[in-house]
């Protein structure tokens, strides 16, 4: 199949999903308040920052194996929220980064966050560190940093791969409070095992939307939710009625 086949639903499905999400975006932009349930992770983030302040040791925020992609953008957005809290509590925030583009982006977002919390003088550009683009070089750099700075709280948000457990285990051995969130499904079990709080899969996007309250993100999460509900409904109805449906409907739903 080198081109989409117009006689199956799959040629239209991405556009239906896109339209639903687009609808969410439009509604949110227009100022409609769209409901997203409060996730327990949000309280945990605040608590963890407070804990670092009590201990007088820095906070670490790892935006994952960063790439120029959406999970990383959202991680940077969360970092902005955490930085605002940290600035308010006068606690140092360290952020190792593995991508140059994200590096400059993070610098700008954090600078703004510190300024908006009235702590511009606390912002130290050298606390955002570019380590390496290579996965394990980055991981070994981060564990070095964690050990040297004896961090009290660690946030892991973004894309992670095998280095997830290396980082989380190191934090655990330092006795740090750790909160993780990742859309990389395979790493979630290790975060569950080694972190105090874990945001699972899709919740990641919802957390960002909830934290930032940005209409675009809220609308998008809401739209995605509606798309998933539609998809689940479709699967349920089709499966339940498979036995009597005429052949042409079935073939409309079959991929080949």
């Amino acid at each position: 199949m080198e081109h989409a086949r117009p006689d199956t639903i799959y040629a239209y499905l991405p556009w239906i999903v896109a339209a639903v999400i687009g609808g969410g975006l439009v509604l949110a932009q227009a100022g409609r308040s769209l409901y997203i349930r409060r996730l327990p992770a949000i309280d945990a983030i605040e608590e963890a920052v407070g804990r670092a302040t009590e201990m007088g040791r820095p906070i670490l925020f790892v935006p994952g194996l960063a790439g120029v992609d959406v999970p990383t953008f959202q991680a940077v957005a969360i970092a902005g929220r955490v930085a605002r809290l940290a600035a308010a509590y006068r606690t140092r925030l360290l952020m190792p980064v593995s991508n140059s583009v994200i590096f400059t982006m993070a610098e700008q977002v954090l600078r703004e966050a510190y300024a908006s919390a009235g702590g511009s003088e606390l912002f130290r550009p050298e606390d955002i560190r570019f380590l390496s683009e290579d996965q394990f070089a980055f991981a070994s750099g981060v564990i070095g940093l964690m050990n040297r700075e004896r961090i009290a709280t660690a946030f892991f948000f973004g894309n992670f791969a095998a280095e997830a457990l290396i980082l989380a285990e190191t934090g655990q051995s330092l006795g740090a409070i750790q909160i993780a969130g990742t859309p990389s499904t395979l790493q979630i079990p290790f975060f569950i095992a080694a972190c105090d709080f874990t945001v699972i899969g899709e919740e990641y996007y919802a957390v960002t939307a909830y934290l930032t309250r940005e209409p675009i993100l809220v609308g998008s999460v809401w739209g995605q939710d509606l798309s998933r509900i539609t998809l689940a409904g479709l699967i349920f109805l089709m499966s339940a009625n498979m036995w009597w449906l005429p052949e042409w409907i079935k073939s409309f739903f079959s991929f080949w």
Binding site: M1, E2, F136, A161, A162, S173, T185, L186
Partner: protein, 268 residues
């Protein structure tokens, strides 16, 4: 700290000691491994098997024995083999396995197997490869033009490939699904590391994957199917003991937990 060091030491000993001890084990193949075996068994005459070596030495411990087992199987059936990889070191590793096995099965480079080498660029490049191998990679891994390799006269596009066997420790399977499977209808079988194994089962259910070999166990099971226990089998022995160690550790930790709980209850 001491508890942690103790665990580390136990793991190190559980793995290194069995390496120098003589032990025997028995493997039981699972259905996905059997269907992988069947896919290779069913390759028709004249069509090639493509081995996608998408792993580096990082995961060689698992993917290496898997490739070796499949290579041995394909060579015993005289199937032409095309090797390539989207990871830098993969194709060269597979080349060294293939050369070792070639003597036994009278395989000659260029006539019976060809190595295209490293193909960077991900999905778009694979799409191009499926349309035309010669245009995508006009030379083999040593820079020799394909026109000098007799096997390549018969292997030009995805149509000449009967099965893509992909070996990886990373999530690159979608690249092959979006190209070889969906666009050119070439069946896929995968040998993957233990960690990404569970993630492949939806694809197995939907038929996008026709066979799956997970981790070292999968490799050892495949070796059992082709009746040639080698490296995977040998490495399963320390694996065995390390697993038992971890299982015992978990049981101990839970006994301790319950003992503490019981003591607290009694104390109250």
């Amino acid at each position: 700290m001491w508890g942690r060091w103790g665990v580390y030491l136990l793991v190190a000993l559980a793995i290194t000691l069995p390496m120098v001890l003589p032990v025997r084990i028995r493997m039981v193949p699972t259905p996905p491994v059997r269907s992988f075996f069947r896919m290779v068994e069913q390759i028709p005459k004249g069509k090639a098997l493509m081995i996608a070596a998408d792993f580096d030495t990082g995961t060689e411990g698992e993917n290496g024995p898997q490739v070796e087992a499949v290579l041995e199987h394909a060579m015993s059936r005289k199937i032409p083999i095309l090797i390539m990889g989207t990871a830098i070191q993969g194709p060269e590793l597979v080349q060294s396995y293939a050369e070792d096995l070639a003597k036994k099965y009278d395989y000659r480079y260029g006539r019976d197997f060809v190595n295209l080498g490293y193909l960077p660029g991900g999905q778009p490049v694979l799409e191009k490869l499926g349309r035309s191998i010669w245009q995508t990679k006009p030379t083999d891994y040593q820079g020799k033009p394909l026109s000098q390799l007799p096997m390549m006269r018969r292997v030009r596009t995805a149509k000449d490939i009967a099965l893509v066997a992909e070996f990886t420790g990373a999530g690159v399977l979608p690249w092959y699904i979006q190209t070889f499977w969906a666009q050119f209808r070439v069946p896929l079988a995968q040998g993957c590391t233990g960690i990404i194994g569970p993630e492949q089962f939806p694809y197995l259910d939907s038929g996008q994957l026709s066979g799956l070999m997970t981790g070292l166990t999968g490799a050892a099971q495949y070796e059992h199917l082709i009746k040639a226990p080698k490296r995977a089998y040998r490495r399963m022995i320390p694996q065995n003991f390390a697993h038992i160690t971890v299982i015992v550790l978990i049981v101990l930790a839970n006994i301790r937990l319950f003992a503490e709980r019981a003591r607290r209850l009694r104390g109250r």
